[in-house]
């Protein structure tokens, strides 16, 4: 029997783990803010924008990652222009999502009429990540982490309580757009690992579970990164041992942890999360 240790001698396994780890850390961090800011649908739309980009890149023969980054950055700029109250712009975001998915389909139909290329984009192909992809992923993750470190405090303040943050002179519009650009980077990376349709498994699900486990933002970010990493590593190891797709294992791991995360709050009802994260309540108190 092949043990997981033997597997690490292979290049593609190392690449998968390297890329997966980088993406999991970034997704855990960015995902916390996505959940806190209630931008799940924006994140979903971003992944479909990235799908169009990847399909376009396949059409002109460049790396899908470049196409995804370009399109998601444009998408971030477009959604940033929709204004700071992006949470109430579901219709606009939905229109963008449907249109870009259509554009992606058009590109694919021009390309080779190849269904498996589409399926790889949609469901991820972590096992075919190349050395060049790993370097590009590493650089853009590093850049994203630096940006996130700079923006961290004002972004957290603004996400927890936008009205007070604005009153204190935090540049809301600038920060919202900057965050969307970060999200764009992150979604493009995550799509490599789990594909367009399953970006949520790394971005939303770990952060949603983390929010159930703790009130403190810093602890929640820590949990979110940890859950994201555990899901990715566990999913990859299971994929090498088992026969099913890596994306399925990663999704099951993170969703499983999410469902388990309900248990602690059930056991200690007094600790159920109602604190800083509850925006509606915050605004109620502010009013």
């Amino acid at each position: 029997m092949i043990t997981p240790i033997d597997l690490f001698r292979h290049d593609f396994v190392q690449n998968a783990f390297l890329a997966g780890t980088l993406v999991a850390i970034l997704s855990g961090l960015v995902g916390y803010f996505v959940v806190l800011r209630g931008q799940a649908f924006v994140c979903e739309a971003m992944s479909h924008v990235g799908f169009a980009g990847a399909a376009g890149a396949a059409l002109i023969g460049v790396s899908p990652l470049i196409g995804m980054l370009l399109f998601t950055l444009l998408g971030a700029a477009g959604m940033g222009a929709l204004g700071r109250r992006l949470r109430n712009r579901d219709v606009e975001v939905g229109m963008l999502l449907a249109f870009l998915l259509g554009v992606g389909l058009l590109f694919l139909s021009f390309y080779i009429r190849n269904a498996s290329a589409a399926v790889n984009l949609l469901f991820g192909s972590i096992l075919s990540v190349t050395n060049a992809d790993v370097i590009l992923t590493g650089l853009s993750c590093l850049l994203s982490l630096i940006i996130l470190a700079i923006l961290f405090r004002p972004l957290l303040f603004m996400s927890v309580d936008p009205d007070v943050a604005e009153a204190r002179g935090v540049p809301i519009a600038f920060l919202s757009t900057a965050f969307l650009i970060l999200l764009a980077f992150c979604v493009a990376q995550a799509m490599q690992v789990v594909g367009v349709l399953l970006v949520f498994a790394l971005l939303i699900v770990p952060a949603a579970a983390a929010e159930k486990l703790t009130h403190s933002p810093l602890a929640a970010i820590g949990w979110s990164v940890l859950i994201s990493l555990v899901s990715t590593w566990g999913g990859l190891i299971l994929a090498f041992i088992g026969h099913w797709p890596a994306s399925f294992y990663i999704v099951s791991m993170s969703c499983g942890i999410y469902f388990l995360s309900f248990i602690p709050s059930r056991l200690h009802p007094s600790r159920s999360p109602t604190g800083v994260n509850h925006r509606g309540r915050e605004r109620n108190l502010g009013a």
């Binding site: 959940v35 209630g38 799940a40 649908f41 979903e44 204004g83 109250r85 949470r87 109430n88 579901d90 219709v91 606009e92 975001v93 939905g94 229109m95 963008l96 999502l97 449907a98 249109f99 998915l101 259509g102 554009v103 389909l105 058009l106 139909s109 009429r113 190849n114 269904a115 498996s116 589409a118 399926v119 949609l122 469901f123 009205d163 349709l197 399953l198 949520f200 498994a201 939303i204 699900v205 949603a208 099913w244 797709p245 994306s247 399925f248 990663i250 999704v251 099951s252 993170s254 969703c255 999410y258 925006r279 509606g280 605004r283 109620n284 502010g286 009013a287």
Partner: protein, 310 residues
């Protein structure tokens, strides 16, 4: 690994001679059915702030269809089981919009993960996924069509009998509850109708187009006219126009129907949205000045009520 896009092989001299071909006729009828049902349901979807739920239901349906394909039963059963289950889950997890979005996101991700597994266990992995996701409007038989017609008529009849209370509870959930309307039950029945419509539509037009037709026409209609009954009629009209134009253009150009319909829809929505943004900005400003907690849907309905009183 070739995915047939039948219209692409067919380039007639005149666009309208196409109408003589049975497959084009079937495509027109199927597209029209979906456009009508989606135009009506989509209006409520937008007012109730359930755009994301609509998208999620269509993605979840994909997983159901994949499971049914694996079991060797007709995809429509899988579609129905998954979308109905998800719509019950979504309507039971209602409350604050943010929490609901996350619940929708998690259940959607989980369903899609299952979908990947089902498809990988099945041999024609890629082709099946592709045809479920993007539909095959030109490969529709008469049998599919008659089943779809029955379902569509059923959905419309239920919706018509619920029409007034549903509208009331959409615009003013608190008022409706105060008057003793079963608001939660109405919401649940409505989502089940959406689940049925998505299952019906997905077989005909694919995941992508279902969502395009659910959101595109009503989003434009709501910005054009205020009165609910007019907006629903305009929404259905726009949906039919997009679908017909999309099918004709697809047959003529060889481009995918789904892309053409969503592109027409987006192309018309954009100028309407940009024209309306000045009016709505002052309205958003007014809403911001009131420091009350308003959810997305109540603000949206407020906007429609404002339009109505204008």
């Amino acid at each position: 690994m070739i995915v047939p896009i039948p219209v692409a092989d067919y380039r007639p001299n005149a666009m309208f001679t196409l109408l003589h071909y049975p497959f084009i006729q079937n495509a027109f009828m199927a597209g029209s059915l979906v456009a009508i049902v989606a135009g009506v349901l989509g209006y409520f979807l937008i007012l109730r702030g359930l755009t994301f739920a609509g998208h999620a239901l269509s993605s979840i349906g994909f997983a159901g269809a994949a499971g049914a394909v694996l079991l060797g039963i007709p995809p429509v059963y899988g579609l129905l089981a998954f979308t109905m289950g998800a719509s019950l889950f979504i309507s039971s997890s209602s409350g604050e919009a943010r929490g609901r979005d996350i619940a929708i996101g998690v259940i959607m991700t989980f369903a899609l993960g299952l979908g990947v597994l089902f498809l990988s266990l099945y041999h024609g992995f890629a082709e099946q996924a592709y045809s479920i996701l993007f539909g095959s409007i030109v490969g529709i038989s008469r049998g599919d069509l008659s089943l779809a017609t029955v379902l569509a008529v059923g959905i419309l009849v239920v919706l018509a009998s619920l029409g007034r209370p549903l509208l009331f509870s959409t615009f003013d959930p608190d008022g409706a509850e105060a008057r003793g309307l079963p608001v939660r039950l109405l919401g649940m029945v409505y989502l089940i109708l959406v689940a049925l419509a998505v299952s019906l539509a997905m077989q005909l037009v694919g995941v992508l187009l279902v969502f395009g037709l659910l959101v595109g026409p009503p989003a434009t209609a709501i910005r054009l006219v205020g009165r609910p009954s007019h907006a629903i009629i305009v929404s259905v009209g726009l949906g039919l126009a997009y679908t017909w134009a999309g099918i004709l253009l697809a047959a003529w150009s060889g481009w995918p129907v789904s892309f053409l319909i969503t592109a027409i829809s987006f192309g018309l929505y954009l100028p309407v949205r940009l024209r309306g943004s000045r009016r709505s900005r002052c309205r958003m400003g007014a809403a911001r000045a009131l420091p009350s907690v308003r959810t997305a849907s109540s603000r949206c309905s407020q906007q429609v009520i404002d339009d109505h009183t204008d």
